[in-house]
């Protein structure tokens, strides 16, 4: 078995397209980890001139600027930030007033913005869901921030899941487990986790492309007849091919994600991993996670999705008679969750994408967005939060598609 596995690995790794795709996964991991830092901009005033800097330098200046809000998000800190807002809004009316000096914004408004945005969100009206003006939020409100968070999730779920009291209860129960106070460390933006999801999609796509020809190219070239007439050319070869495809997927995933995490966290600062998800995304995010744990959960989801997608692609490859059809279907199935989200949407679109092995990766349908959402899908008598389904369904599909692959390959030509 291992000898055959070694030979199969050698064969796959000698293929030019495989090497090209593997090189692309590694190059893209560095590129995708670096891109978000290029979006960083910092504008300040010097001698009456507005100067904008970009990239790592802008990031460093921003971190410096937001330093007062770093660390534990205490109600006192929120109240202090709010007092600066109130003081300046009293003078200038709103933040977009042309007379509002940029230097003052940099000193008194922007440093508190990441925290006050969350306060603003938590203070939303319980019935309409609309957030009040900053001037309508009092220091007392700021001091009661964490209590407001608890009541806000209940209000929000009443609005989002009107007809699903079970989902409302589940969400509130989940939120009760979120540890408070929150923490914030400046630097890391939400687009960084979006890029992690996007990169995982590309990684999955490239691994699927490596996998797509594994069985069907043998049918296409006629090599299959020779393989099937050998002692180990059936079930064992099918298992070896599966093992080889999964090994390549895992071997691509580990170093690429390691490189991605090293680059992104080094660029944005390792301390940012302690920032609470509730400050980065939404104050009522249901999971008790900091950024580091969130990165790991996205990676776990990506890993399961990657394995499930590879298994599904192997099944397609075993079932298709040539590489063109298998590759075409692979591309289609990789994009289908995104298309379902965009074209069908709603509960039906969610069910369809959750059922697909690649459902957790893509555009707006990605796992990260599901984590920040409050969508519950009914599975029998249960209402299950979509991210749990996005983790569980592909995990269950891995053995299913492995079995189907072996069965399809062994029964072919019979």
């Amino acid at each position: 078995m291992w000898k055959l596995y070694r030979q199969e690995m050698k064969r796959i790794l000698r293929t030019r397209s495989t090497l090209l795709f593997l090189a692309a996964t590694l190059a893209l991991s560095a590129f995708m980890a670096w891109v978000p830092v290029t979006y960083e901009r910092y504008t300040y005033e010097e001698n009456g001139r507005k100067i904008t800097i970009e990239g790592p330098e802008a990031l460093a200046r921003k971190k410096q600027m937001e330093a007062p809000s770093a660390g534990e998000v205490t109600p006192q800190k929120l109240a202090e930030g709010l007092s600066y807002y109130h003081k300046n809004l009293e003078i200038y009316g709103d933040f977009y007033n042309e007379d509002f000096p940029l230097t003052l914004k940099v000193q008194e408004i922007y440093p508190w913005r990441p925290l006050l945005q969350r306060l603003h969100e938590a203070m939303a009206d319980p019935v309409s869901g609309l957030a009040p003006e900053y001037t309508d939020i009092s220091a007392e409100d700021a001091l009661a921030f964490y209590d407001r968070c608890q009541s806000h999730i209940a209000d929000l779920m009443r609005m989002e899941q009107k007809d699903n009291p079970q989902a409302q209860r589940t969400a509130v129960r989940m939120y009760e487990k979120v540890k408070m106070p929150f923490y914030y460390y400046p630097g890391y933006g939400s687009n960084m986790t979006e890029y992690e999801g996007m990169y995982l999609f590309l990684l999955m796509f490239l691994c699927m492309m490596i996998t797509a020809p594994l069985f069907c190219c043998e049918y296409q070239t006629g090599a299959d007849d020779i393989l099937r007439s050998t002692r180990h050319g059936r079930k064992r070869l099918a298992l070896v091919k599966i093992l080889a495809a999964l090994s390549i997927g895992i071997a691509a995933f580990i170093p690429c994600m390691f490189l991605f995490q090293i680059i992104s966290n080094s660029l944005f600062g390792w301390e940012c991993r302690q920032t609470s998800m509730q400050i980065l995304f939404s104050v009522v995010s249901l999971l008790d996670l900091n950024v580091g744990e969130l990165q790991n959960l996205i990676m776990l989801s990506g890993f399961i999705t990657l394995l499930a997608s590879i298994c599904f692609t192997l099944f397609l490859s075993a079932a298709c008679r040539n590489t063109t059809i298998a590759t075409g279907l692979t591309i289609a199935f990789a994009l289908l969750p995104t298309l379902f989200y965009m074209l069908i949407g709603g509960i039906l679109g969610s069910y369809l994408r959750v059922l697909l092995p690649s459902g957790a990766l893509g555009g707006n349908n990605a796992f990260l967005y599901a984590l920040t959402d409050f969508e519950f899908l009914k599975a029998g008598p249960l209402s299950v939060w979509t991210p749990w389904l996005l983790l569980a369904v592909p995990a269950l599909e891995i053995p299913l598609f492995l079995w189907l692959t072996v069965r399809t390959y062994c029964r072919r030509s019979m």
């Binding site: 000898k3 055959l4 070694r6 030979q7 199969e8 050698k10 064969r11 000698r14 293929t15 030019r16 190219c217 043998e218 296409q220 070239t221 006629g222 090599a223 007849d225 020779i226 393989l227 099937r228 007439s229 050998t230 002692r231 180990h232 050319g233 070869l237 030509s413 019979m414």
Partner: protein, 292 residues
Amino acid sequence: MELTLEHVSKQFKERKNRKTAVDDISLQLGPGVWGLLGANGSGKTTLMRMICGIMKPTCGRICYDGVSIDDLGDAYRDVIGYLPQEFGFYPEFTVQQYLEYIAALKGLTDKQARLKIDELLTRLSLEEVRRKRITRLSGGMKRRVGIGQALLNDPEFLVLDEPTSGLDPGERVRFRNLLSEFAHNRIVLISTHIVSDIEYIATRNAIMKNGSILQTGSTQELVVQMEGKVFEAAINPHDLSRWEQKVQVVNVRNEADGSVSLRYLGNPDDIPQARPQEPRLEDLYLELFPRR
């Protein structure tokens, strides 16, 4: 050592119809070279694939030494070597790497594989190209690599589907000699539509048409029925097309004196002054698969 086919048939679904590719074939193959002769589309490849266990018969049974090949499973695949008509090489592999890969599939140990590959590369005159990518080899060399992979497990039963297609005459002769040498105490089944490939080396032949075996026997036994049916006559070259309309032409040869010698199947009085000829397998083939 005997392969037995008992009422073997294979049908394929073609849209709404069922097409019979192999129709109720019963055959017993013993040691020696067996030639399976038939025109393209006569069902040879389907029969070969069933014999190799790649395809299951719709009905009937194939047994090796009295045991169904389905029941034998791995044990059967251990004793067969198969060279399909068209087969894909992996473009990234050299000759040696390809043979190592197939050796692993055939369950050879590293040591066995090394020794066998060295031996086969020498026997097949492929030593010099062992580190060359297969895609860069000539058609004949690729075919020899194909034969090499079929021989890796030292098979008791070798199945070759159109093994000489694409080979030049010299390579064909070399190939025939190699098979004759190898066939001692083994069953070698060669399917072909090129009569000369098997005429002189086949112990027995089976002639296949429209999925059925029409005749079996040694070359001598088969050609006996053609006695008195093969003639040669010298004709005027201008009359060639006229005679081609009237008789089944086997061969046309231009002579030094400007006339044309016509070998044909028919009666002595079809063409004036026709002389009887010793029949060959090719004559029988043309009788069974007429060109007209």
